[in-house]
């Protein structure tokens, strides 16, 4: 039998590199084969495997708008061997790309509903694509709440982007930092402390979140306490990924393969697993 080879990357080129913060950067990519670029399509919340020549692959979520088919944006934090190497790429440099992979955000379920999008740390990237998708179809959705928490005020990036989002009708942007600075204009404390300012109907809302698992557990706890059904709460999970096809076994979270069953899960699918340390 002849099969497509799901492990083979496509050649891609860096169009632009944007330094977002001291450790965070965005690579704006295009596939070098114009036909492959034209055929490339993804859904908000999906990810690509980026390959750095001679070093290896890493799973990175796609932050660009799915309707902007000509560019594929990835916002990356330099922490490991591959990401430190990717940080050194400049416009015109080449890399490999496989994807998209995984199950993204429930954009269908979210239609017509209020939205609460909660992100923590530098974890906003996996929902940026969903936010852009929703705000481009503003009339298809109810009230939109965007809540972003960072550890330190200095970690906050994309201020322009949040300002732009906040300018949309029926859209609320709430920001918090665990540790503030003298001129920090927003809340100092946890994101959950901002929840009394949310404008949403818990019985008719879709919750999306990503960030540290401790934060996501706390957000889920508070949302359940507000009578949001567990099936309306969605989380983007992270685990080690080598193959992205469900074969290599590294990304398992209990019986789930995060790469193919996720990375986006509804809370009822993984609630019990989130309570266990060391999974």
């Amino acid at each position: 039998m002849t099969m497509a080879n799901p492990y083979l990357p496509l050649s891609a080129r860096v169009l632009e590199r944007i330094q977002e913060s001291p450790t965070l950067f965005t690579l704006r990519l295009e596939l070098t084969d114009p036909k492959a670029q034209a055929a490339y399509a993804f859904a908000p919340g999906q990810f690509n495997m980026l390959y750095l020549h001679g070093v290896g692959e890493v799973a990175i979520s796609i932050v660009s708008d799915p309707t902007e088919g000509q560019v594929i944006d990835h916002t990356i934090r330099a922490v490991g061997r591959v990401t430190h190497g990717l940080a050194k790429l400049r416009a015109g440099d080449h890399l490999g790309l496989r994807g998209p992979f995984g199950r993204g955000w429930p954009m269908g379920q979210a239609q017509g509903r209020d939205l609460v999008i909660v992100t923590g740390g530098l974890g906003c990237a996996p929902v940026v694509s969903a936010i852009e998708y929703v705000l481009r179809r503003r009339d298809d959705h109810g009230r939109v709440n965007i809540v972003q928490g960072v550890k330190h005020a200095d970690d906050f990036i994309w201020r322009d982007r949040y300002d732009r989002w906040a300018a949309h009708p029926r859209t609320k942007v709430l920001i918090a930092a665990d540790v503030g600075t003298p001129l920090w204009p927003w809340h100092v404390g946890l994101v959950t402390e901002l929840f009394d300012q949310l404008a949403f109907d818990p019985k008719h809302a879709t919750i999306m979140m990503c960030g540290p698992e401790g934060m996501m557990r706390a957000v889920a706890r508070d949302m359940l306490a507000m009578d949001v059904p567990d099936r309306d709460i969605w989380l983007s999970m992270e685990r080690n990924m080598h193959c992205a096809t469900g074969h290599c076994g590294h990304c398992q979270l209990g019986p789930r393969f995060v790469c193919k069953d996720g990375p986006v899960f509804s809370y009822d699918e993984i609630a019990e697993l989130l309570q266990v340390k060391g999974l």
Binding site: P6, L8, G96, T245, C248, G278
Partner: protein, 367 residues
């Protein structure tokens, strides 16, 4: 078992080996090498381990020999089919970088060697069916595994000599062979019951021109399999998936971790363990690089690496991952347990950890 049985006299086994060597690129079969049963190129019937018997126990594998003539009076060796299809190390693709930095990716063609294997066991067939599900039946079929699987022809042999570590009767996978073979043999004292169990297998069987087995021969074969099902070791009679996921904080996990070395022997010999990692092998000048995959183990420290940390830092967490996945996660992922009762993880564990005993401890009513 419904396929009509023919009788292959012991002297006729050489003909079958010859036919397989002729019809396929290679024929592998069990030979005793370095004190263990290994699958090696087989051309002469004398290479088969006549009179050899394995004696396995927790942390122990020994072979003895007597003057018996039966060639399959042993249970298994440390490996059977897994390394033939899901290879321990394999280059997947190569990338070339030209002077301008452009990258060109070229897939390696999987070696399309057509392989016949004599001597697969019921536990091996069950494991093969699971590996097929994992590598071939998902959204992204694996072309490397698939190419070798296409060219595989299996002559399985019903097990008549389960060893102390075997529990295939309890897992429901043996000792008689289930689906997946092309030909199944049952060894009798003077020859074999033989039945084709696939179209190519039936064609091969027909080409041998054998007589139908007698009622007495078929009866003898059935008795062998019934006798082999009498095994000492068994899995606890419990919903293991539910129990294991509910008892992630059971104190037994720490007691296992006191003994477990996290060496990964169990995952290496397990016929269903599928974890692997990717690795780059670049040339010094940077002009090209090979992208490899290698067997990995959930016991290796880097298995659950994320953002500079290890999510399963302790041996307790890693053993719990292995056992909970094998007997729990598999049920969700593939509709059944990932254990086929071969007992290899018990024999090849250097400290003799016995999964059936650990599962019994974990399923006891009181913690």
């Amino acid at each position: 078992m419904d396929e009509p049985n023919q009788f292959l006299p012991r002297a006729g086994l050489q003909t079958l080996i010859d036919r397989l060597n002729h019809a396929f690129d290679r024929c592998l079969g069990p030979v005793v090498l370095d004190g263990i049963v290994q699958m090696r190129p087989l051309s002469r019937v004398e290479q088969l381990p006549a009179g050899h018997h394995d004696h396995q126990a927790p942390g122990s594998y020994r072979m003895t020999r007597d003057d018996g003539t039966r060639q399959f009076d042993w249970a298994n060796g440390p490996q059977a089919l897994k390394p033939l299809l899901f290879t321990p190390e394999e280059p997947l693709w190569r990338v070339d970088r030209d002077d301008t930095g452009r990258l060109a990716f070229t897939p390696h063609n999987p070696m399309r060697q057509r392989t016949a294997v004599i001597g697969a066991r019921a536990c091996d067939l069950a494991a093969l069916r699971l590996q097929d599900q994992h590598f071939l039946h998902g959204e992204h079929p694996d072309p490397y595994y698939g190419a070798r699987r296409d060219g595989l022809f299996l002559v399985a042999v019903d097990c008549s000599h389960p060893t102390d570590t075997c529990f295939c009767a309890s897992s429901g996978d043996g000792p008689g062979c289930g689906d997946g073979a092309d030909i199944v043999l049952t060894e009798l004292d003077d020859g074999f019951l033989l039945r084709g169990t696939s179209d190519p297998g039936r064609a091969m069987a027909a080409s041998l021109g054998l007589a139908a087995a007698t009622t007495a021969q078929r009866q003898a074969g059935r008795e062998r399999i019934v006798a082999a099902a009498a095994q000492q070791r068994a899995l606890p009679d419990a919903d293991l998936s539910a129990v294991l996921f509910a008892r992630q904080d059971h104190p037994q996990w720490a007691r296992i971790a006191d003994r477990c070395l996290a060496c990964g022997n169990c995952t290496a010999v397990c016929p269903t363990c599928f974890c692997h990692r990717s690795q780059e092998d670049p040339v010094l000048g940077g002009s090209h690089s090979e992208h490899l995959r290698l067997w990995d183990s959930c016991f290796s420290p880097g298995h659950a690496y994320l953002h500079g940390a290890h999510l399963r830092e302790s041996i307790r967490d890693r053993y719990r991952q292995w056992l909970t996945h094998k007997f729990g996660g598999w049920v969700t992922q593939y509709g059944r347990s990932g254990c086929t009762g071969c007992g290899r993880c018990i024999s090849w564990c250097p400290v003799g950890i016995d999964v059936t005993a650990e599962l019994a401890a974990l399923t006891e009513a009181t913690k």
